[in-house]
């Protein structure tokens, strides 16, 4: 028994050591990002590596935010940030509104062909974006939407397989007795949806909103295809532009700008950690 005990203790120590080692590996690039962001430009290039900046240049963040305005006539980072926020808001609202309604239909209403339609919906998750890219582009070009935000946010208002699936799983867990009683009292489906199902599903709606926000904030290929004017660029697209313009000369500013793109997502994650982790776990387990 005693040797068994000590074996368990050794095992725990090994696990702890591994966890710490992996943590260092996983966090190291971030530390390097922050250290670089705070350095004067000369120290980013010095060899051997200067780990700690001789002076913490917090002004790098300000410089990165206003970088390029002499040549462009406006503050690119701030403009990109504003564009991204507006786009994210439109996409998040559309995703939550459309998918909640559709998922309600799949989860709690019975109609001919529903199960087949749901099967097809799930299968669409296998369709890669590149196969849809050309006709979708041609369609938006025909509508004269190229160069506007519409190709990026309008589709979000028409549902997406992943969010429908996620919300349907949640909506099905609401006891049917609750809604049946309201139905007997003559409440319309819309009313049941608004007054019973939605208030009970705030957490799951938040999960869908969160994923939609992350997707929109991170999206690169969409803006790359549809946005033409630099003034309309999103942060993802703008950051890439920053990089090619800088040509690797001012890594400190580039890292400061990167940090400012990453920070909102990480802050959001910290406030919503539990929701987030549940949401991701559910996608894998109930599938």
């Amino acid at each position: 028994m005693k040797s068994h005990q000590s074996a368990i203790t050794t095992q725990k120590i090994v696990v702890q050591v591994l966890l710490v080692a992996f943590s260092i590996l996983f966090l190291f690039p971030f530390a390097w990002l922050l250290l670089t962001a705070l350095k004067p430009i000369k120290e980013t290039m010095s060899m051997p590596i200067k780990w700690i900046p001789s002076k913490f240049l917090w002004s790098n963040f300000k410089d990165a935010a206003i970088y390029g305005h002499e040549s462009l006539g406006y503050y690119p980072f701030l403009v990109y940030a504003m564009n991204t926020i507006v786009l994210c808001a439109l996409i998040v609202c559309g995703t939550v509104a459309s998918n909640a309604v559709v998922a309600y239909s799949f989860a709690r209403l019975r109609w001919p062909g529903r199960d087949l339609a749901f099967g097809v919906t799930i299968a669409t998750m296998m369709v890669p974006f590149p196969v849809l890219m050309v006709p979708t582009f041609a369609l938006f070009r025909h509508l004269e939407w190229i160069g506007t935000y519409r190709p990026l946010w309008v589709p979000a208002w028409f549902g997406s397989a992943f969010s429908i699936f996620l919300l349907r799983q949640f909506f099905r867990t609401i006891p049917f007795e609750l809604t049946e009683a309201a139905k007997i009292d003559g409440a319309s489906e819309w009313r049941i949806f608004r007054t019973i199902v939605l208030p009970l599903s705030k957490a799951s709606l938040a999960v869908v909103a969160l994923f939609a926000f992350m997707g929109a904030w991170n999206d690169f290929l969409g803006p790359l295809i549809y946005l033409l004017d630099q003034k309309t660029f999103t942060l993802s697209l703008g950051l890439q532009f920053y990089q090619s313009q800088n040509g690797g000369t001012s890594w400190n500013l580039l890292m400061a700008a990167s940090a400012m793109v990453i920070a909102p997502v990480i802050i959001l994650f910290f406030f919503t950690q539990r929701l987030f982790i549940q949401g991701i776990a559910i996608t894998g387990l109930k599938g």
């Binding site: 239909s105 849809l132 979708t136 690169f220 993802s236």
Partner: protein
């Protein structure tokens, strides 16, 4: 259960209508249209001209197509097992009931939150041959690091390294799977005198096999479409086209050379590859995946 009523069915269609429209406009139509375009000479500026299977024939003789396809498959063969193993190992460590699990879980997950563009820029800076930080660190351990970004042999491993770093999503799914493994099973194996490896091999892995299958299929779909990170880290597939991936060539055909029909043909080949690999994985899994309670 009450039987379906027409009133309920009507409401059902109304509620589902955004998606029915969205499915028709943004999925079914583009999918069929790209099949048609793939059989056409099409530049988007002029109406498509039907040319039969010419695009597919041209693709078969296009060296760059084969290079991009080989790069993508090779990357998938390296990145998928590496990131699946990393995800499972991290999840098992997190599941070991030691102190501070929530903190470690956060640490391992944070890289997955980083937008792909930032991720590419950050890793360029870490791996850079002249001023990067990784090789000097390796040197402290007596390892001479390779020229990660400019050596065609090491450019793909660089991307695999990054894929392993961003394994957080899959890791959380594995972890949820591990937490669902009944403790009685592990205890029973303990009583039978099984060691850690035997328990992992014979109890844990079979019990989480449905989750492994799910992550494998998601991994295949995602990896074959890899675009943003290589596009930014390795402009034009440098060095020596070693990071020129399938989606990048498709994108270039569509939006740089305006060969939209050609790009559509590439899109359909990719779609068929994904379908094939998914069905293959599902078929292969029948023998190996264990579903609880069935």
């Amino acid at each position: 259960m009450k039987r379906m009523t027409t009133r309920e069915a009507f409401a059902g269609y109304i509620f589902a209508s955004p998606w029915i429209l969205g499915f028709a406009i943004f999925l079914a139509y583009p999918l069929l249209a790209s099949m048609y375009f793939s059989l056409c000479d099409y530049s988007v500026l002029k109406a498509p001209v039907f040319v039969g299977i010419d695009n597919y024939k041209l693709l078969m003789g296009d060296d760059l197509f084969w290079t991009a396809l080989k790069n993508t498959l090779l990357y998938a063969v390296l990145a998928l097992p590496a990131s699946m193993a990393t995800g499972i190992i991290l999840a098992m460590l997190l599941n070991a009931k030691v102190k501070g699990m929530a903190v470690y879980r956060t640490f391992f997950f944070i890289p997955s939150l980083v937008p792909q563009v930032s991720l590419a820029i950050l890793w360029r800076w870490v791996l850079d041959g002249e001023h990067g930080v990784l090789n000097p660190v390796l040197k402290n351990f007596g390892i001479t690091g390779p020229n990660w970004l400019n050596d065609p042999v090491w450019s793909k491993p660089s991307l695999v390294l990054m894929a392993m770093w961003g394994v957080g999503n899959a890791m959380l799914i594995y972890l949820a799977g591990l937490q669902d493994v009944p403790t009685q099973l592990i205890e029973a194996a303990d009583l039978d005198g099984a060691n850690s490896w035997q328990k992992t091999r014979n109890v844990t892995i079979p019990m989480i096999s449905p989750v492994i299958l799910f992550n494998l299929i998601m991994g295949i779909i995602g990896t074959l479409q890899v675009f943003t990170v290589p596009y930014i880290m390795f402009p034009n597939g440098a060095p020596a086209h070693s990071t020129y991936f399938y989606t990048e060539y498709l994108y270039d055909n569509a939006f740089r050379y305006h060969k939209m029909g050609y790009a559509s043909a590439m899109g359909w080949i990719m779609f068929l590859m994904i379908l094939g690999l998914t069905f293959f994985s599902l078929r292969m899994s029948e023998k190996h995946v264990h579903y609880q309670g069935s």
